[in-house]
Symmetry: C2
Subunit: 317 residues, 2 copies
DNA sequence: GCTATTCATGCGACAAGGGCATGTATCGCA
DNA sequence: TGCGATACATGCCCTTGTCGCATGAATAGC
């Protein structure tokens, strides 16, 4: 007989009925809600038309809730409190009183930038939980795309063709934070250790120690640029190990400046700049749009406030 | 720094976020809500603008909820269930599966019309609670105005100047249900007991028994109309008592037909029609507007369906 | 009986909100 | 590697909900 009857209660009606139940008159309810009296009156009429049931009846100069109106007023408390809870949690997120950020960073950053970041976040926003997972840039970018992390601290060698940041893809926002020189580590015994800057073109016969895939790629590119094919015989991305191997003259290696902050240069090893020189840039990456999420924005801001001079990093503007 | 920030969650946004959380895509959410995809997309954008926080971020071909979005989705369950509870209770009221009606009726109705009404209501709408309180018409009307009852069963003598229904007041709706003759009860010994109809003009010297104030008023009016001043020496609105007094020739009385249904005419008493004749009408009264409240409408309908012939009442078309 | 409240109604204006058409990016498959 | 299907974004236009103001009618209290 009757169609499903779109008995759709809207928040406005609920608030209005609740206010009327509380104040007894439409005028007072309107005042308490910041509306004009006719607005509330008309809204009530519409709501009654939608529901097919009167919600108020005139009682002398004021109004009285009908039974349906009283039922709504009773539920209004539960509904509005549930809503207030949601609004409260949301306000906490907006106000940085709560929230979560999941960060991925490359290994060397774990020892340098990340502890500073976590400390700043804890000090500035104690309510925000920061998660961290170590991952090389390509993996970090992947986790960002997959939604496993909100923010990635990555690096890229200048001129790298396989730079995962450059996927022509507007879905990620990269912000360059620092640039750092790539230096060469070689034994003090090495004939070129006396030079202030070492010419890579002269290193075609040396044995090389390669690091992570990205670093190895950069090594190959740098050598190719000067017509040299490096003999890579050792592989490790452990900077301490690299430097100890170098100190014993078992090979030479290209290292980003930041790596030296995590490992003391041992006796017998030397660090020199290269010719031609090359740079590595440290970047922070977020999904486009998520930068406006307060907790993520806060983490971003904390990262961008970091001072890299302690580790020999050059701030990007 | 930031103004209170009208973080107003509306139901639409909550439903949309919930659907996205459930289906994973905006399109599927839109389908499940009966909207077009652009509508949901735009609504999301507006909600994000209002809240100042992104709720979704694009993830490949679909979208993923941000943390604020997930928070809303979590609360959505509680909010929508509270709302569903309210809608359910409201639907019960509309569907007559629940509800309350408070009825007031005059004493004679308590014995006749009201039991039938309660039985019909229980049979037709077991979920509806019907309350009853006995009250004379003026008091019943007063209780209706005060909101103590939802429905009043009253009577009025034709031509009564003090009829409480006629307060020129649009706030009450009266529906005449039945009319009944007013008859005269007198002793079989009475000289006029032999007549088929008794002329009131001839009763100026009799002793009268008056009933409730309204009935007494009608008695006075009926006598005045024919130039008689009744000698009222006994007063009771108990029909059984009246008839027994009449049977012993201690007085005569005007009685509405319905009263005879509550009291057998004892041996020695006679009932006759009067000249001029007069009627009493039985009415049902509700507050204007409350007739559209389902439970009250159902009670109204049950009353109007009552058949009065059993008690000698004449239906009003 | 007069006055201050209170509710209802009509009018005009604005904006929220939805559909449609269309453009763009992504994923899967051949 | 290129194509089709899917999904989201955007712009345009229109409906309709909703508000405020001005005004009228009814009520309660002094």
């Amino acid at each position: 007989m009757l169609e499903p009857m779109e008995t759709d209660l809207d928040l406005h009606s609920i608030r209005i009925v609740r206010a009327i139940s509380e104040y007894g008159t439409i005028s007072a309810a309107a005042r308490s809600l910041g509306y004009s009296q006719p607005a509330v009156s008309q809204h009530l009429r519409r709501a009654e038309a939608r529901l097919g049931v009167p919600l108020v009846v005139r009682a002398g100069r004021g109004v009285r809730l009908t039974e349906p109106g009283q039922v709504i007023a009773r539920h209004a408390i539960a509904i509005t409190s549930a809503l207030d809870a949601a609004n409260g949690d949301l306000a906490d997120l907006v106000g940085l009183a709560a929230g979560t950020v999941r960060v991925a960073g490359f290994p060397t950053a774990s020892s340098t930038l990340v502890p500073r970041l976590l400390q700043r976040m804890r000090d500035a926003h104690p309510g925000i939980t920061v998660g961290y997972i170590e991952a090389e840039p390509p993996e970090a970018i992947g986790m960002l795309r997959d939604g496993q992390v909100d923010l990635a601290i990555t690096f890229a060698y200048s001129g790298d063709r396989a730079d995962p940041h450059r996927e022509g893809d507007g879905s990620l926002d990269s912000v360059p934070l620092f640039t750092e020189p790539v230096v060469i580590a070689l034994s003090e015994q090495h004939p070129l250790a006396a030079e202030a800057a070492v010419d890579i073109a002269l290193l075609g016969n040396d044995r090389w120690i390669a690091g992570c895939p990205l670093c190895r790629g950069h090594l190959l590119a740098a050598c190719e640029a000067v017509g040299v094919t490096p003999r890579i015989e050792l592989e490790t991305d452990n900077a301490v190990a690299v430097l100890n191997l170098v100190a014993r003259n078992l090979g030479i290696a290209l290292l980003p400046q930041l790596a030296l902050a995590t490992a003391p240069v041992p006796f017998g090893a030397a660090v020199r700049s290269t010719v031609p020189s090359s740079d590595r840039s440290i970047q922070v990456v977020v999904k486009s749009g998520s930068g406006r999420v307060p907790s993520i924005a806060a983490a971003l801001e904390c990262i961008m406030d970091l001072d890299g001079t302690e580790w020999g990093l050059d701030r990007v503007s």
